[in-house]
Amino acid sequence: MDEADNPGTTQTDEASDFVLLAAMQAGQAEALQVIYRRYGRLVYTLALRVLNSPEEAEDLCQEVFLKLWQQPTYDASRGSLSTFLAVLTRSRAIDRVRSRGARSRLLQRWQTTNQATAASPSPLEAAVQGDQAQRVREALDQLTHAERDVLEIAYYEGLSQSQIAERLNIPLGTVKTRSRQALKKLRNILKDLT
């Protein structure tokens, strides 16, 4: 996914995340605006993928950026800002899903599973969305379908390994092996991105 939503750039737009966070902590709302424009699409897309509700995704997106504004807990030594926002968004989105009722959760699973099999982006879309997105997609393409399924269910739905085993009707040991094997493969392919 492309980090820059707006093609037009100014000097502020080109500032590093580090400088923007410092400006944001000094109370400059313009810095928050630039960060939002840089990562808002990533956060919203991930929230929508997990929650499968535009209203809830919008609400969570607002929550994440306000959290960043009010209590900036980001530590640059632990990874990029996009990683921090992705981790925070996923964590809070899964918390929301888990707080829903069992019936609602089943519906969400069904819908989300269907969404996971949506068509891949066209070459044009892929070009627009940037190199990082393309790299991650290519890395995922190198996994087997079985590995990818297990990994995506674990990541986007936050199901336990036993729940995944039940969902896919496969042994628990297989889920454990596939998910770890998938992540190790990605780690080797994407190690220069992290």
Binding site: L42, L66, Q129, L183, R187
Partner: protein, 273 residues
């Protein structure tokens, strides 16, 4: 277990940890491993970051158009609330409270880094401003020059429209091939000459304009000029007669210090109307 197998087992534990899928026994094993090999913390972070790359592969969906404005409004509203809260609790203190979990040591180091980065940005900005100011000065000078030429051109066009004080000049004598147009501006007591093949004179010579009217006994001196530029030459008319539409205009070449009498070589004369 070989060294290679052992490493592979480490990676299994780290991957399982990133997936939040370790059994209690595995978690305890990883804790011991990290205690004995703190360098593995970096590798643990790599697995966390790798997993966090997954959403980049999603087909991006644009957030609702109004969300940015709502977030900014909420941020500024919350900031005001924090300020009010801070004022209530501790009057006179700085209203903005910035929590920072990294600890004061790390915070101070990062702050120092920030000061360097922002200082460098500030220096770049100031340099950029100086360059922009120079560009602006040059553009302003060009605009003023163009405005002056525009005023001159508008004046000439105005006179051309009226036609009453326009003289067509033709060369005679040593400037037989020369030609030009002379405009007199009665309201402003000025004359403008647009000429071709009228060369610049040496510094000890000057062109002189004379007005000749049938009712006047002798030509009237209407000022001196030289070709200081290839474009129009403009100068002030010394008397009102020069701008009062005399019958004919003459141009002579005279020594700079010569008395204002028509004794020099005639080089241009207006076509008699």
């Amino acid at each position: 277990m070989t060294r290679s197998d052992f490493s592979e087992h480490w990676h299994d534990l780290l991957a399982g940890h990133a997936l939040d899928a370790l059994s209690p026994a595995e978690q305890a094993e990883l804790d011991r491993l990290l205690q004995d090999h703190p360098e593995l913390e970096a590798e643990k972070a790599v697995y966390d970051q790798t997993l966090a790359q997954l959403p980049h592969a999603l087909v991006p969906v644009a957030p609702p158009a109004g969300l940015e404005a709502r977030i900014l409004a909420a941020a500024q509203g919350s900031d005001r609330a924090i300020e009010a809260h801070s004022r209530d609790r501790s009057p006179g203190r700085s209203p903005r409270v910035i929590p920072w979990r990294g600890g004061w040591g790390v915070g101070t180091a990062i702050a120092a880094g920030l000061i360097l980065v922002m200082g460098w940005d500030n220096l770049r900005l100031r340099r950029a401003i100086v360059v922009r100011q120079q560009d602006l000065d040059a553009a302003t000078a060009l605009i003023q020059q163009l405005q002056q030429q525009q005023r001159q051109t508008e004046t000439i066009l105005t006179q051309l429209r009226t036609g009453e004080t326009l003289y067509l000049l033709e060369g005679v004598g040593s400037l037989a091939g020369a030609s030009g147009s002379l405009l007199t501006l009665p309201g402003q007591d000025e004359a403008i000459l647009i000429a071709s093949d009228v060369p610049a004179l040496p510094s000890d010579q000057v062109y002189r304009l004379w007005a000749l009217d049938q009712e006047a006994a002798a030509p009237v001196f209407c000022g001196a000029f030289n070709r200081s530029s290839p474009e129009a030459v403009q100068w002030s008319l010394p008397t009102e007669v020069c701008g009062a539409a005399p019958d004919q205009m003459l141009v002579t070449i005279d020594p700079v210090n010569a008395p204002p009498v028509p004794t020099g070589e005639l080089v241009l004369q207006s076509v008699v109307r």
